[in-house]
């Protein structure tokens, strides 16, 4: 095991705890937007795919990379878009009109 992997494990553990504490506080009202938002954030995997396409190290990695970038980008764009649409709909009671 090299130090990079150990660093990675520390980061994973800390991020897991932060995620747990932060997400525990999300109101059940917003669980659907929560899932679509984490989905969009998870599509950060696109960065790995971009490097594969850009480096063009082999034909296989290039082709798989292009498909991967397309799949992840659709999640980024679609995920943020639908989360924002959902959140815009949540409104509090209007004060009764005079």
């Amino acid at each position: 095991m090299n130090s990079g992997l150990i660093d990675g494990l520390f980061v994973f553990m800390l991020a897991g705890f932060i995620g747990f504490e932060v997400i525990k506080r999300v109101s059940p009202l917003l669980h659907t937007p929560l899932m679509s938002l984490t989905n969009a954030l998870d599509a950060i995997a696109v960065v790995g795919a971009i490097v594969l396409v850009g480096e063009h190290k082999s034909q296989l990695s290039f082709i798989l990379g292009v498909i991967a970038v397309i799949a992840a980008t659709s999640n980024v764009v679609g995920g943020f878009l639908i989360t924002d649409r959902m959140l815009k709909m949540f409104k509090i009671s209007r004060p009764t009109k005079p």
């Binding site: 989905n39 950060i44 960065v47 990379g65 959902m86």
Partner: protein, 465 residues
């Protein structure tokens, strides 16, 4: 040249650091409806910074195809972001599939670029990444198909199913172990993709529609964990963080959902719930119910002080949420206090009912969680159940032989009058008989949820003239 490279590297890492912080803030701001939209913006900025940083990567020689792929991806993403709110569960399942596809493909490329010199730990993580991601890919596609009703929603079960499924997963794990010990065994790698792809299908096929909230959450968790594993392989802390956040989010939601159904993960995944229910439904005898017309229902609602509406998947299927909003308006205008009781597993994904009711412009402070509203049912004049069934079934409290015994329910049977809008007395999708329907205080309103609510609204507005 080397200084330039180092300089770029610092900028890239700094951008990734800021992006990671923004991702955490994004989820933090999502915790309350007031700040939630800031959360989306923070996430978007973080994503743009991360992608910009990646484009500075020194090894990138080909920008043309990156741009083409980003444009095509956006072209697919926009319509997926504009779907109807009722289609959100299947859209979510589909996006889990896309995320998992990306991770599977990157993992596969990394293996073929690096073999045979892959350190053992890296290879182990890579195997985990590919197995989790490929089973999530097909599993999510099947889940999306079931939710879209392209595939049958009923659980498909056969004898020895769990044994078959676990054996298949066992094959994948055995191949993974072999690959960790012999990272040069290129010819075996495709087996480790294809076998989990098959497992993903077989895992979701036996799961019924009512279990979808738990399953979607579990798949969400798997998608996150596979992305975190990819972060280890690529040595990217940003990916590890994003994957850990997504993984813990899916995990928390899975725990909440399975608690709300009083079941364990293993029971959801290996329980084959459907079979028990068929047996329970077969033993039911004829009992009498009282039914009412829209006029009668409108009269009772208009005379009430406190009304609690209990929405369920049936409301989503009938697309009745906008009519429910009209009912809410009509009753509120008459001074009736109307609230909505939301069971955690009502609908097909966590929070499904909240989104549908918010779409229909019902203020979110009127949507009340199960634990908060249950104590208020005895003081409630009318509980109006629209398309919900199991989550209102008092057998869950009293009947130890019921397959849903122990599941927390909304105590609608404690309200003074209960009204249930239902198509017919056929046992619903789950096939469990509901004693609520045979109580003296219960009135059955037979018909389509949308048109029945419409008739009630019509009666209420007609009376004001």
């Amino acid at each position: 040249m080397s200084t330039n490279f180092a300089g770029n590297q610092v900028i890239i890492e700094a951008l990734y650091l800021v992006a990671s912080a923004l991702f955490i803030l994004s989820l933090k701001w999502l915790s309350a409806p007031k700040t939630a939209r800031h959360g989306v913006w923070a996430g978007e900025i973080g994503m743009v910074l991360a992608i910009a940083g990646t484009l500075l990567h020194h090894g990138i020689v080909d920008y043309k195809w990156i741009v083409i792929a980003l444009v095509i991806g956006s072209g697919i993403g926009v319509p997926l972001g504009l779907v109807q709110m009722t289609a959100v569960p299947q859209r979510t399942a589909l996006s889990h599939a896309f995320g998992a596809l990306c991770v599977t493909l990157v993992g596969t490329s990394e293996f073929y670029l690096r073999t045979p010199d892959v350190p053992r730990f890296t290879m182990a993580v890579l195997c985990m990444e590919v197995i989790l991601a490929s089973l999530t890919f097909t599993g999510s596609l099947i889940a999306a198909g079931k939710l879209q009703e392209v595939l049958p929603q009923r659980p498909i079960t056969y004898k020895g199913q769990n044994f078959v499924n676990l054996s298949i997963l066992g094959i994948a794990v055995a191949v993974a172990v072999y690959l960790v010990l012999n990272p040069g065994a290129k010819q075996l790698f495709p087996v480790m993709i294809v076998v989990p792809l098959i497992f993903g299908i077989l895992m979701i096929v036996p799961i019924g529609g009512a279990d979808m909230p738990t399953v979607i959450s579990l798949l969400n968790s798997y998608a996150g964990l596979s992305a975190a594993a990819m972060g280890f392989v690529l040595n990217s802390k940003l990916l590890i963080i994003a994957g850990a956040l997504d993984g813990s989010s899916g995990f928390i939601l899975s725990v909440i959902m399975s608690k709300a159904m009083n079941r364990s993960f293993t029971n959801v995944l290996f329980g084959a719930f459907g079979q028990v229910q068929v047996a329970a439904a077969a033993g039911k005898e004829e009992k009498s119910v009282r039914s009412a017309t829209p006029e009668e229902a409108a009269g009772i609602l208009a005379a009430a002080n406190r009304v609690v509406v209990v929405p369920g998947y049936g409301m989503a299927v009938a697309q009745a949420q906008h009519k429910v909003r009209e009912l809410y308006d009509a009753l509120t205008k008459r001074g009736v206090d109307v609230r909505f009781a939301i069971h955690p597993v009502a609908g097909r994904m966590p929070g499904h009912m909240n989104v549908l009711l918010a779409e229909a412009d019902i203020p979110y402070d009127r949507l009340v969680e199960m634990d908060e509203i249950n104590g208020d049912f005895p003081q409630t004049d009318v509980a109006l159940v629209i398309g919900a069934n199991d989550v209102t079934n008092p057998a869950a409290r009293t009947d130890q032989s019921s397959p849903i015994y122990g599941m927390p329910i909304l105590d609608v049977d404690k309200a003074r009058t209960v009204m249930v809008i239902k198509r017919s007395m056929n046992p619903g999708f789950a096939g469990i008989d509901n004693p609520l329907y045979y109580m003296d205080k219960t009135l059955m309103l037979f018909g389509d949820a949308k048109s029945f609510v419409n008739s009630i609204v019509h009666e209420l507005s007609g009376n004001t003239h």
